[in-house]
């Protein structure tokens, strides 16, 4: 269980990115955070795994207050949360395999990782992850030779290497086309349902939100302005959505929004 209490983030330049944000995420939820650009979504996600240090407030993860952790303990906590990014954040010139197996770094002694000596179990795990995401045949390619959708799957594979209990996804589909967007989100949904991973994900498109979320949080100017269940969101009209989301809110093209069953995971690689 993840509990956020009175989280506030003020950047060095004085920007208040989060204002007293509190909410709870139960295990197995697919929580989607929506909000305008600049509303603080990325900041919030990064405060959870401490890529950004919150100014005030607590992040309680399974009873441990992450904001108090340092060094080794913090890194151990981070291992339990995989993160995927809008721009994938792969090391472009490294191979797909190397990018994926880097997900094990938190589990191995430093000297081994400096020598690049990953053990067989890790290698096997990486191959399995690549298989699961349907990109095993790309393993030896340079990461930047892959298409956007494939790169995001490398990102997911890297996160899975951590055997995470939760996945933080910062606009994972914002730089992908609609078909690939569904593709990636269906994958996250599968992890959520089959592996019972908690997912905290920021998103832009209304129909994706309605389709995948079990719960939705709306952020505006660093404050939570909306909280709703899956049912609330499905019942929500575009106008209401725009209210919290702003005029920017949009559906992805109508042609793909209807019946989604046809998009199989990995089927569009």
């Amino acid at each position: 269980m993840l509990e956020i209490r009175h989280l506030t983030k003020v950047y060095d330049d004085g920007t208040v990115a989060l204002k007293d944000v509190s909410f709870t995420v139960e295990d197995g939820e697919f929580l989607i955070i929506i909000g305008l650009s600049g509303s603080g979504k990325s900041t919030l996600l990064r405060c959870i795994n401490r890529l950004v240090d919150p100014t005030e407030g607590d992040v309680i993860w399974n009873g441990v207050n992450l904001t108090e952790l340092e060094g080794e303990e913090l890194r151990k906590a981070r291992r339990e949360m995989g993160m995927i990014f809008q721009h994938f954040n792969l090391v472009k010139r490294s191979s797909v395999f190397k990018n994926v197996i880097a997900g094990r770094l938190g589990f191995m002694p430093t000297w081994r990782s400096l020598l690049g000596r990953f053990n067989d179990a890790d290698r096997k795990k990486a191959l399995t992850a690549l298989h699961r995401l349907g990109i095993a045949d790309q393993a030896q390619k340079r990461a930047d030779e892959l298409s956007g959708g494939q790169q995001q799957r490398v990102g997911i594979a890297r996160a899975l290497m951590q055997d995470p209990k939760m996945i933080l996804a910062d606009e994972p589909v914002a730089s992908l086309d609609p078909v690939l967007a569904h593709n990636i989100l269906e994958y996250l949904e599968m992890l959520n349902q089959e592996d019972n991973l908690t997912i905290v994900c920021s998103l832009h498109y209304l129909d994706l939100v309605q389709r995948y979320s079990t719960r939705v949080l709306g952020l505006r100017d660093g404050e939570i302005v909306y909280e709703g269940s899956r049912e609330d969101i499905r019942a929500m009209a575009d106008e209401e959505f725009k209210d919290i989301y702003g005029e920017e809110a949009q559906r992805i093209t109508g042609s793909v929004s209807g019946d989604l069953e046809e998009f199989e995971i990995g089927g569009l690689a």
């Binding site: 949360m81 721009h87 010139r93 880097a102 770094l105 938190g106 990782s113 990102g155 996160a159 951590q162």
Partner: protein
């Protein structure tokens, strides 16, 4: 408030002129550009005025220079025009420019929307002609003198005859000649023959020298055997006190060329020579010598070729060592010169600016100048070259390195941190893979430059092949210079290829 006169922007309208067009023209006739300035084309006026004054100043200087000795103005101008017809063209152009500026003032004042640009091409044309005159550009000389240069250039282009040489050996044979003949003493015997050595004898072996009054000397028939065929033999004398001098006949030195068997025969008249101070002896023994500089054995690389090889190796290593030292010192410096790493506190920012500033200054000084300084410090030789190139490399590499550090994508760093990796692991997996390719690429690029530079750093005493090249050019030894030029060209070409290959592999 004003239009930019260099850019033709018809849409931009000036404020109306302060003076009527004809007045603007008159003002510009008095002071070129003043009319434009008062017509609210201030920048145009300033540009025209300053250019015109500059042009007049330069013209006056060139005319004075062309007719240095004259003092009277008219004479100076006349002579300058005579000596340098370009100055006539130039003067006409300046006159046209002057009239044009007047006309331009009229136009500018009359029509606030027009900003003609053609005038500025005229300005550029005048400066071009000035450059032509100041640069002493002389295409005719280029063509006519090319003929004279052709032989030298041909030697530079194909210097390889100088690349081989044959080992040489002095062949020498001597015969004793008694001066004068006496009745009591028998003339010296012919020398003994030694197998394999050149042999040389004369008949007779005694005689009288030619005298000052013109009484001819005794004619000697001299024969040689066992000399090198087809190679010049010099005939010399050595008088009793050891002075050597060459035999002359009718003003020419006597030489002969042995036949295919190495034999020769010449007749010589015994020369006039001041006799040594009178002594008791009735006669003196003079030595008659046949001397030959013969090539023996196989062709071998010439001295020059060996030197060139030696120095090109030195050159390559100068470049290499400078690159090594450059990398070693630039690496740590580059971190201090990377803004993204140094923006944490005011102190680090100060260090950043300091390092950047020093690097910029060092980099802006040419390696050749650094070499001159290094030669003063450590003396002539390769070490000076290495020092000079190292200093410049450090500055150049540190800048390039720091820029590639600055352009690191923070995304992967964030992602690797999020996996629970520690600092070292993050550097290893997210930072280094990003900076290695640009580092390798910049390093090779620098290596390339360093080797090129090391070929010429010798011109100022920095060691390497440039040192030889400069020397040979000064000695007008174009063959040897050609060898050096070839070595440089081939080295640089190979290096180009190699560095392109490496870069392709790594980047």
């Amino acid at each position: 408030m004003n239009t930019n006169s260099l850019q033709h922007t018809p849409s931009k309208k000036r404020s109306p002129s302060l003076v009527p067009p004809y007045l603007a023209a008159i003002l510009s006739a008095l002071i070129p550009g003043l009319g434009q300035a008062l017509a609210r084309a201030m920048r145009r006026g300033i540009i025209l005025l300053s250019s015109f004054v500059t042009i007049l100043g330069l013209m006056a200087w060139r005319i004075r220079l062309a007719a240095r000795r004259d003092t009277e103005v008219f004479a100076i101008i006349k002579k300058a025009y005579h000596l340098q017809p370009v100055l006539v063209v130039l003067s006409v152009m300046v006159l046209i420019l002057y009239l044009w500026i007047i006309y331009d003032a009229y136009i500018i004042a009359k029509d606030a929307e027009r900003t003609p640009v053609l005038l500025f091409f005229m300005l550029i044309a005048v400066f071009f002609m000035l450059g032509w005159q100041i640069g002493e550009i002389d295409p005719i000389a280029f063509v006519t003198k090319a003929d004279d240069a052709a032989p030298a250039l041909a030697r530079v282009l194909w210097p390889w005859e100088k690349a081989i040489s044959y080992p040489e050996e002095h062949l020498l044979a001597t015969v004793d000649i008694q001066v004068p003949c006496t009745e009591e003493d028998p003339p010296p015997p012919a020398p003994e023959k030694i197998e394999g050595e050149p042999y040389f004898w004369a008949t007779p072996t005694c005689g009288d020298l030619k005298t000052q009054d013109g009484i001819p000397g005794t004619i000697l028939t001299i024969r040689g055997e066992n000399f090198a065929p087809d190679t010049k033999v010099n005939i010399l004398w050595e008088d009793p006190i050891g002075n050597e001098f060459r035999q002359r006949q009718e003003g020419e030195y006597v030489t002969t060329i042995p036949d295919a068997k190495g034999e020769f025969e010449v007749e010589i008249e015994m020369p006039y020579r001041l006799l040594p101070p009178h002594a008791d002896a009735d006669f003196y023994i003079w030595d008659l010598k046949a001397k030959q500089l013969a090539t023996v054995g196989q062709a071998e690389p010439s001295m020059e070729l060996k030197l060139a090889v030696e120095k090109i190796v030195e050159t390559i290593f100068i470049g290499m060592m400078a690159t090594f030292f450059g990398i070693l010192l630039a690496l740590p410096l580059s971190f201090f010169a990377a803004r993204n790493l140094m923006s944490a506190s005011p102190i680090t920012i100060a260090i950043y600016y300091l390092v950047r500033g020093v690097l910029n200054i060092v980099r802006s000084i040419e390696p050749l100048i650094w070499a001159i300084i290094a030669v003063i410090v450590v003396g002539l030789g390769p070490f000076a070259g290495i020092l000079a190139l190292t200093v410049h490399s450090i500055a150049a590499l540190a800048k390039l390195y720091s820029e590639s550090i600055e352009s690191i994508d923070p995304g992967p760093i964030e992602a690797i941190q999020a996996t629970g990796a520690n600092w070292l692991q993050t550097v290893m997996y997210a930072v280094i893979p990003q900076i290695i390719p640009p580092f390798v690429s910049f390093t090779i690029y620098r290596w390339d430059i360093n080797i090129r530079m090391s070929t010429i750093i010798g011109f100022v005493g920095g060691g390497g092949i440039g040192f030889l090249l400069a020397q040979w050019i000064r000695l007008l030894d174009y063959d040897s210079a050609g060898i050096a030029v070839w070595f440089i060209a081939v080295t640089v070409a190979i290096l180009d290829y190699v560095s392109a290959e490496i870069r392709e592999r790594f980047v």
